[in-house]
């Protein structure tokens, strides 16, 4: 397995949001995240940014009255 540092790990986290990672990539990322707290935070934040796009639209397109029932 290829060891990766933080910079490369962020590349893999980012790609993971756009396309399936290969086996090697997945293992490298998993291993790095297990060791690195800063990258675990970064990974969560990339995910949050990813969700924010959807949330932005949901917030924007929610009807004026009655609450939307999506909970995810």
């Amino acid at each position: 397995m290829r060891m990766v540092m933080c910079r490369e790990a962020t590349r893999l986290m980012s790609k993971n949001l756009d396309a399936p990672l290969g086996f090697q990539e997945r293992m490298s990322l998993k291993f790095h995240l297990a060791m690195c707290g800063a990258c675990r935070k970064c990974n969560q934040q990339f995910q949050l940014i990813h969700d924010a796009g959807k949330a932005f639209e949901e917030k924007a397109s929610s009807p004026p009255f009655d609450t939307n029932d999506q909970t995810t």
Binding site: V4, M5, T10, K41, C42, G53, K54, K59
Partner: protein, 204 residues
């Protein structure tokens, strides 16, 4: 010739007063969305205007499978895509060279590939609460505006419009690999900006 109204073209179903009110209510949010995506206030005004007109004209086509506002947003997204294509055709997309971006990202990492002390991610607190906070959205908005134009276009196509990187490549005329590189840069820049704005706000 008998002149039965052609159901596909008739305007027998003008939006009800209720729908007209909802259109007016959603307009500012359509504008905010279009501005983030097109990064040009007058173009955003235009596409929103077009989307509202289309929503009125095609009122009968709304089948109630999704919410009415969601349907109007779908129309807007198509108009935005048309506008982006037109921008591209008219050579209004900035070239991809971005020395400033590269430098900003260099500052986040040591030469070993580790985070630098100033850039190392801190905790943002509970993600659920973050997304429900009005302040977060203010910071998000200003950080989006601060992103370089060409990165922001690709980023918003992916994260706001929900296009796949494959679709984006076709629209932008770039390789998928290139698209991942741009999205990676966008996320690193946006993350750093959000952290700065969000944590400084939260500590007020």
């Amino acid at each position: 010739m008998a002149s039965w109204p052609d159901s596909s073209q008739s305007d027998t179903s003008k939006p009800s007063a209720e729908r007209q009110r909802r259109l007016a209510a959603v307009r500012p949010r359509l504008l905010a969305f279009a501005r983030l995506q097109l990064r040009d206030a007058s173009e955003a005004d235009d596409v929103v205007q077009e989307a509202l007109i289309t929503a009125v004209e095609k009122n009968a086509r709304f089948e109630g499978k999704s919410g009415y506002e969601t349907w109007v947003f779908g129309i807007l997204k198509n108009k935005i895509l048309d506008a982006l294509r037109a921008q591209k055709r008219h050579g209004k997309w900035q070239p991809w060279s971005d020395d400033g971006v590269e430098a900003a990202i260099e500052q986040q990492f040591q030469s070993s590939g580790r985070w630098t002390d100033v850039a190392r991610p801190s905790s943002w607190g509970d993600p659920e609460n973050t997304l429900f906070s009005e302040r977060f959205w203010q910071v998000f908005d200003s950080c989006m505006i601060a992103l370089p134009d060409n990165i922001a276009k690709i980023f918003t196509m992916r994260e706001l419009m929900g296009l796949s990187t494959h679709q984006i490549c076709e629209e932008a005329g770039i390789k998928e690999n290139n698209c991942w590189v741009i999205l990676h840069r966008g996320r690193l820049l946006l993350r750093a900006c959000l952290e700065k704005g969000w944590l400084s706000e939260a500590n007020k």
